[in-house]
Each structure stands twice: as C-alpha cells, then as structure tokens.
Amino acid sequence: MFEEQRYRFLIQQYKNKIYTYSLYMLKNRMDADDVTQEVMIRIWQNIDKFNILAAKTWIIKTTNNLCIDYLRRRTVAVNREFEIDEFFEDTYSKNHNSENPYLITHFKMIASKVKEAIQRLPENIRSVFILYEIEEMKYKEISKALDLPINSVKVYLLRARKKLQEELKKYEPQEII
C-alpha cells in the first residue's frame, strides 16, 4: 500500500514533465503518449528500487532513453517533418485567460513558431534546452539525467539559445510578407 502512495505521488508530480519532454523530443502526440505510459510502467516496476528524492533524475533519464529509442526507430521509418506542430494546440490559450480572439490567435501563432523552432534544434542540445527552459531543471540535475558534464550542459544550452535565435530570425521575413 505504501508503494501505491509513492507511485501516485510520483505520477502526479512528474506526469506533465515526462509528457512535455516526450512531446518536444518526439514531435508526435501518439509517441509521446506511448513513452509516458512506458515510463509510468517502469516507475511502478522500480518503485522499491529508487530513492524518492532522486526520482526526478531517474524519471527524466528513463524518459530520455526511451525517447532516443523511439527516435532511432523512427529514422528508419517516416520523415515526420510535417507533423511538427500537430500536438501543440492550446498551450497559450490555456495560459492566457484573455478573451480577445485577436490576442489568442496572436499568442497561438507565437507559440507554434517558438515550438517549431525548438523542435528544429539538434537532438542533443534540444534535450538540454527543454529540461532547462521548460522543465526548469538545474544544471546539476540535467547533468545527472543526461549523463553529461555540467560544463557541457552549459555549452549545449548556450548553443541551443543561439540556434533558436537563428531559427526564429528565419520566420521574421515570412511574417512581414
């Protein structure tokens, strides 16, 4: 029964983190659902084995490994370039309680633009960027979760920010047109 409580606590605590990370990494809702489910099953199977205080790192590491597996499998199959924004529908409208349709549309456009740009980042720097900027993890936690030295985490993050800036610049002329 104690395991169940721990499990419920962990799931409530980390379900969105797992899901968000999988979505950004895999760019596909179905795969993200599968990965999240798989991680949750693994948490239940290992509930006795890991320290609850170190759970975050363990969970993110597992999620990352599963995402990498999925990505490897996928490279052989379909090019999903056109599926990029299929899952990010309402994040902005959820976060902004504005009732102004113009604002909602504007926020949605920005959101999709930024998310697309994030997803165009190379895999290794994307993972660091998502964990730091969206999951709000610290350098040390990211370093443990991804098995990277802290300095590499910092360098990857910087690279990601620069690359993202370049990606977003590409959109600007299109917007003017």
Partner: protein, 188 residues
Amino acid sequence: MNRKKSFKLNEEMINKIISVAYGDAKLIDKFIVMRAAAQNPEIRETLYSYKKTAKEIEVLCEEEYPDDLLRNIIRKNIPASKNTISFLFDLYSTVFSRPIISAITTIVLITAIVTTLIVNKPAQISYHYSQAEINNADQQARKAFAIVGKFFKLTRTTLENEIMDERIAKPINDGIGIVNNLFEGETK
C-alpha cells in the same frame, strides 16, 4: 582601451548578452552588458532581440497529460485489490510495511514516553524547619507516645485484673469445683 575592446560585439559579448537576456547572468556581466548596450547600438539591438525570444520562451509551460490516460495507466499498473483504500489500513501499512519505518516509529514513541517522564517528573520538595519547630514536634511526638503507652498500660491492668481473674479464671475455677463435687458424690 580595454573598455573599448569589451564593448565590441564579439563572441564573448554575445554569450554575456544571451545570459543577461535569459536572466541567468552574473551581476558583473549584467553591468557590463548594460553599459555596452548603452554605448553600442548593435549590442543594444542584439540584447533586445534575445530578450524578445527569452520572453517568448518564458511563457511556454509544461503540457498537461490527459487525465483519462493517466487513470487507465494507474488502473493497469496498480492491482485491483490495492485500489480499496481505508484510512486505518493505509496508516497501518504506512507504518508497518517497512522495518525501517516501524523502527523509526518505535524510536519516536520511546523518545516521547521518556521525554514526558523526564519533563513531568515531580519536583522534590525540600523542607526547612527551625530548631523550635523541631523541638515542638519532638515534644508532641513524646506526648503522643505517652498517651499510647498509657492506653497500653490501662489495657494490661484491665486484662490482668478484670478479664483474666473475673471472666476467665473464676468461671474455670467454678467449673472445676462443680466437677470435683460430682466426682466426690460418685465415690460416696
């Protein structure tokens, strides 16, 4: 000369600008970038551009995992028998399911009992009497013993004179006399 050099938009300056824009720069870097931005329009432009992106990213938050999927997963993972929860059973299992928790609970209970005993220990009262009071108490005790002694003496006298002689010895004497008379009558 050095200052002029640091205000150029080189790689190092871009890195500092990025850190400032995303809000994780050191105070000294913030100061340098702000000064550089005030003097160099190119740096100002770059800082603005990065700040804009940082703001757009800041608004992004975690995606919500659908509740129906979550319920299904929990239902699948946790055996059905474990889904019935009662508070007492929960409490019992929480405390006793693992030896370490039982041990900690026991230690806490013992500590609580010992602490309570130590804290609530009755304070030892120290008596302070003057010599006159002691003498007075001594006299009173002697008087009390004298009265008790008097009673014992009176009781002894009553026992010896009245009870032993009158109530016990005399009837026995009378009885023996009657028996003697009866024996004498038979022999005649």
